[in-house]
């Protein structure tokens, strides 16, 4: 039942939420990443997400498998957006359900942290003054052959 995608389509949090939850689950955790209107005090007008789509999809599926293992649940749904986003738009949605809350929180947190360190996606912040900059990123995990 776990599911993940990397897409240029707008993200609907309610749809991601609906992908998790079974009668045995007592807890659901949802995390949304949102484009915000400033960074270090500099006014932001939007964000462009560029990705290595095929690899990002494979990596995200692997992250979801790992999170599901941690949560002891196969109810993990994640979608990451690509393309031009405006302030307030959802860049990533992560939903996890599991019998108990600690695992649901832990797995959702795991997914977002791994996305930020492993997923081959880059973002260019656009500022109100018309400039744009690729944001500093993380050197990804480079275990040979790691998925």
């Amino acid at each position: 039942m776990s599911w993940s995608d990397v897409t240029s389509d707008p993200i609907e949090p309610a749809v991601v939420l609906e992908r998790v939850g079974t009668p045995e689950d007592g807890a659901v955790a949802l995390f949304l990443g949102i484009v915000r209107n400033s960074n270090d005090g500099r006014p932001v007008s939007g964000m462009e997400y560029e990705g290595y789509g095929d690899m990002a999809r494979e990596q995200l599926a692997a992250i979801v498998r790992e999170a599901a293992g941690r949560a002891n649940s196969d109810r993990v749904a994640v979608v990451h957006r690509l393309g031009e986003l405006e302030v307030g738009e959802v860049s990533v949605a992560i939903a996890v359900s599991s019998p108990h809350r600690a695992e649901a929180f832990d797995a959702a947190r795991y997914v977002i942290e791994e996305i930020k360190t492993r997923l081959p996606i880059w973002k260019r912040e656009r500022y109100l003054d018309g400039e744009a900059e690729w944001l500093e990123g993380h050197l990804p995990v480079t275990r040979k052959g790691a998925q």
Binding site: E50, W122, W134, P140, V141, G145, A146
Partner: protein, 98 residues
């Protein structure tokens, strides 16, 4: 879009046995002005061989990092990863998803 073809590569006077496609993203893509390029390499070439070859093109290519992350066929590799004909090699700038 293949910007460099086998034989068009100045280092490939002799027909080299490996041809790999290199993908460039974000700041790397803007640096060299292309999202993709094809490189011919000798047998048993590694990712490091490829990076040296790319930097040898001169111009903005010399600014590509030798130590950055790479993926071979969509899996993270490193400088020692041995390449095969037809491989898809992506130079991965520091990532910033989320």
């Amino acid at each position: 879009m293949r910007l460099t073809r086998r034989g068009a590569d100045s280092s490939a006077r002799n027909r080299l046995p490996l041809e790999v496609t290199v993908l460039l993203f974000a700041a790397h893509r803007e640096l060299v002005g292309a999202p993709e390029t094809v490189v011919s390499l000798p047998d048993r070439a590694t990712v490091r061989t490829l990076l040296v070859e790319l930097r040898g093109r001169g111009g903005s290519w010399t600014h590509l990092p030798l130590q950055g992350a790479v993926a071979v066929n969509r899996k993270y590799g490193d400088g020692e990863t041995v390449l095969a004909d037809g491989d898809e090699v992506a130079l991965i700038p520091p990532v910033a998803g989320g």
